[in-house]
């Protein structure tokens, strides 16, 4: 029981970390970044490079952030910017980018499954249960990420401009806010978050050129039911991630794999605003 509870909380934390970048981009730009999966993979390989260079595994996280931010900057400039008015096309173009990232990685690193070193190993005794220390550490990391984004949005000038763009872009532009710049920074930040999430999940799974795709779909569904709020994303991760864990352990992992997508589709059908506003 305790193990199940810990599974639920840590899974929710991981999902939150993976989905937060997508949420940020969706909230500000109203487009779904399907390159998110590719960027997660990129982060995974950043962690792998760190391991191969023999550096401290923790160093993989800033490395991933750098990789993601650079890739995001390029993507926004070249591909996403012309597609703001065509949101469905933006989904397709970013999916194409995901293919490009994946194939480039295959060309450089090969197709085989590889492993990055974990920053933390071993187990911890918690509530009478011996549990993976790294999974537990994901919880404070996810909370820190969430608080960091919230602080950025609510405590800085850029955050104020970003929230203005989220609420009413035309008005924000009329008030002299450079919404193009806001979108650019947001996309780079969202991409960096995706890559960081990729680095964070590598110790839990392997590194391979398609590692991001299964995460992409779950993150995408979670963001759709959460709207634009970090709090509702956290709630969605707990509820749907929890359902996934319970279905996986009680019935079958195969069913667990589609729990989030199925539940989210049904939630959106019956309650289009999802988890947003209570």
């Amino acid at each position: 029981m305790t193990a199940l509870l810990l599974d639920v909380v840590t899974t929710a934390a991981i999902l939150f970390a993976v989905a937060s970048g997508l949420l940020l981009v969706f909230g500000v730009m109203k487009i779904i970044n399907f390159a998110h999966g590719g960027l997660i993979t990129l982060g995974g390989y950043a962690a792998l490079i760190t391991t191969q260079l023999g550096l401290n595994p923790w160093f993989g996280i800033p490395m991933a952030a750098l990789f993601g931010a650079v890739a995001g900057t390029l993507i926004e400039r070249v591909v996403v910017r012309p597609l703001y008015a065509r949101p469905l096309d933006a989904i397709l173009a970013t999916w194409g980018l995901g293919i490009i990232i994946g194939q480039t990685i295959v060309l450089v690193f090969g197709r085989e499954v590889q492993f990055a070193a974990a920053p933390l190993g071993g187990t911890i005794d918690l509530l009478g249960e011996s549990y993976s220390l790294y999974r537990i550490v994901m919880v404070p990391i996810a909370i820190l990420l969430g608080l960091g984004i919230a602080l950025l949005l609510n405590g800085t000038r850029l955050g104020l401009a970003t929230r203005a763009v989220i609420m009413n872009e035309d008005l924000a532009r009329g008030l002299g806010i450079d919404s193009t710049w806001v979108r650019f920074v947001t996309f780079a930040l969202g991409s960096a978050l995706a890559a960081v999430a990729g680095a964070l999940i590598t110790p839990l799974s392997s590194v391979d050129p398609n590692m991001g795709v299964p995460w992409l779909v779950n993150a995408f569904m979670l963001v759709l039911v959460s709207g634009t709020s970090l709090a509702s994303l956290a709630a969605a991760c707990l509820v749907l991630g929890g359902a996934q864990v319970i279905v996986s352990s009680l019935y079958s992992p195969v069913l667990g794999g589609i729990t989030i997508a199925l539940l989210a589709a049904i939630i959106l059908r019956t309650r289009p605003q999802g988890f947003a506003r209570g």
Binding site: I32, V78, V79, P82, L83, R86, P87, L88, D89, I91, L92, A93, W95, G96, L97, I99, I100, Q103, T104, V106, L107, V217, F220, M221, L224, S252, V254, L255, G257, I258, A261, L262, A264, A265, L268, R269, P272
Partner: protein
């Protein structure tokens, strides 16, 4: 009179089949082997194109229907055995299951209020779920390795090639006939402006569902033939990656053209088979790069670019004159014998309320209007006038109370069903189909009454008297072939009014029909409206800010203020009312009060 492109299409299909038969003499076995698969994939790509390119539903799930057809064959042939009987059974089962699954998906994806994105999301979830279902089938479905080694049709490779080519040719020709017909125009209209279609009485969700079901069945047939030919089925066939590949091929070839996606799929899949042996990753990388470039820079795909180039070349060498687009000619619609309404009111509103959360916008609205009346709704901004219009035209809008049209309650009916009861709504902003011509816009508006043909494009535009008069007096009859987006603001307003009148409504809802019009245009519309009320016995509800205009044309005025009905009387009563003066003066409203009180 109507054009019949069906003969032309049948001829083209026959020609294509003959070409496929001839090609068996030239092509080597290896190429034909690859091409059978490419041709069947092209058939699925065709259904993606119909859904996405024509109807605007971006679908990632057509692979699943292809896979269902393939697995139906694989499972039956593997576990029951192969015989002519089981072959027919497997095909029927494949189509039936595909249609059933499509019906569930359509129920989830297309409903009043669903967004485009949501429909895409559902089609994305479908292949993911389907793949997991196959994985959990264990040895019965072959799990991740699929099924192979089952007995199947004993046909030569040439026969498979001609069969696949014929299926593709017939499907493409049939799709071309439908897209060139009245129904095809309707499909484009739904993509362009689904909301306007609903308020023209067109059940868009139902039409989208039908298209989705037909596409699913077609994809299942292609999948069935594929399994019969390859004698192998694998979970990749139902999956999300194949689903997105189909979208990529359609985008490259040219969405919204039929030949583009077909040619694109055959070329890319054939080349993939040739090149992916030597350079598998580089090839996929190139496809990814080209795909992104096409989406960003050439959203129409390659075929239209090629077509434009050829046209320019043709003009340059002096071939091929101007293509004259044929436009329907105006005729007057036969007057439909409408059961003469009882003496009851045309519209009766009882206790209608609307609130957003805890904020009330309308409270206890009660009034009636009879045929032949022109009732103006006036009141300061935020009084709830437009909200009331919305509540009348869409049964799901109001929070409480009842609305009856000709004695029939609208209940919770969606807009298209309210239109069937006799409501016609003109929006505040001119709301027409920008890419269609004036004649086409009007033909779409007649969809509810003149059922569109699936195989013909009608050459006549039958309009009822009032709509025809609006078209004639505003000069639209001279511009029938003009795309609606090129019309002036006033002409767009007139066009929308004519479209709503083409519905032959009993109750006409007009939300500021003269906003942004010149004085002359306003007089013209005013004259038409009073004629409609007095001669055609329409019941007209008009929201208007211009009180001079209201005074000239109304037979009655209803005043709304802060969501309540404060006065319902003749023009003189309202103009002389102290309450009205207070409302406008008290609200500190600019300009209008003085005029109202004058």
């Amino acid at each position: 009179m109507a054009e019949r492109p069906i003969l032309l299409a049948a001829g083209m299909a026959a020609l294509a089949i003959a070409a496929f038969a001839g090609a068996t003499q030239i092509l080597d076995t290896y190429s034909m082997n690859v091409l059978v698969r490419s041709l069947l994939y092209a058939m699925v790509a065709l259904t993606v194109d119909i859904l996405w390119g024509y109807l605007g539903i971006l679908t990632f799930g057509q692979s699943t229907f292809f896979g269902i057809g393939a697995y139906a064959a694989g499972l039956v042939f593997m576990h029951v055995g192969f015989s002519p009987g089981t072959a027919v059974l497997a095909l029927a089962a494949g189509i039936a299951i595909a249609v059933l699954v499509a019906a569930v998906v359509a129920w989830l994806a297309f409903w009043h209020g669903a967004s485009e994105l949501y429909a895409s999301v559902i089609t994305l979830v479908l292949p993911i779920v389907a793949t997991q279902v196959i994985f959990s089938g264990g040895t019965w479905t072959g799990s991740s390795s699929g099924l192979s080694g089952f007995e199947t049709f004993d046909l030569s490779i040439e026969a498979w090639f001609v069969l696949a080519g014929s299926l593709l040719a017939v499907a493409t020709a049939a799709a071309w006939v439908v897209m060139a017909s009245d129904a095809g125009r309707l499909i484009v209209a739904i993509r362009e402006n689904e909301q306007r279609c609903k308020y023209l009485g067109i059940g868009t969700a139902r039409l989208k569902s039908i298209a989705f079901l037909v596409s699913a069945a077609l994809a299942a047939v292609a999948g069935y033939v594929f399994a019969g030919y390859a004698a192998v089925v694998a979970p990749e066939l139902v999956g999300f990656v194949f689903g997105t590949e189909l979208v990529i091929w359609v985008a490259l070839g040219g969405r919204g053209t039929l030949l583009g996606p077909v040619i694109g799929t055959v070329l890319v899949d054939y080349e993939s088979a040739q090149l992916s042996g030597d350079y598998p990753f580089v090839w996929k990388l190139i496809i990814g790069l080209v795909f992104v470039a096409v989406i960003v820079a050439l959203p129409r795909g390659f075929l239209p670019i090629l077509g434009d180039g050829l046209k320019r070349l043709g003009r340059w060498v002096g071939l091929g004159g101007k293509t004259t687009a044929r436009t329907a000619t105006l005729v007057t619609a036969a007057r439909r014998t409408v059961a003469t309404a009882s003496d009851g009111p045309a519209i009766r509103i009882r206790g209608v309320a609307k609130h957003f959360g805890s904020l009330p916008v309308l409270r206890g609205i009660d009034f009636e209007a009879r045929a032949g009346e022109l009732v103006s709704l006036v009141g300061p901004n935020g009084a709830g006038k437009t909200t009331l219009m919305r509540c009348i035209a869409d049964g799901s809008e109001r929070s409480g109370g009842t609305i009856e049209i000709g004695g029939v309650s609208i209940g919770r009916l969606p807009p298209e069903r309210c239109v069937a009861l006799g409501i016609g709504r003109k929006f505040q902003m001119a709301n027409v189909f920008d890419s269609l011509t004036v004649a086409e816009c009007l033909q779409i508006a007649r969809t509810r009454i003149d059922r569109p043909s699936l195989v013909r494009r009608s050459t006549e535009l039958a309009l009822p008297g009032p709509a025809a008069r609006v078209v004639a007096t505003t000069g639209l009859d001279q511009r029938l072939a003009t795309p609606a987006r090129l019309l002036s603001h006033g002409q767009k307003q007139a066009l929308e009014l004519a479209m709503v009148l083409a519905l032959e409504p009993k109750v006409l809802l007009l939300d500021e029909p003269t906003a942004g019009l010149s004085k002359a245009e306003r007089m013209l519309i005013g004259g038409i409206l009073t004629d409609l009320a007095t001669q055609e016995r329409l019941c007209i509800l008009l929201v208007e800010h211009d009180l001079d205009f209201v005074r000239e044309i109304s037979s009655r005025v209803v005043v709304l203020h802060q969501g309540r009905l404060v006065l319902d009387g003749t023009v003189e009563e309202v103009v002389g009312s102290e309450t009205v003066k207070q409302i406008y003066a008290g609200a500190g409203h600019h300009g209008a009060p003085a005029e109202a009180a004058r």
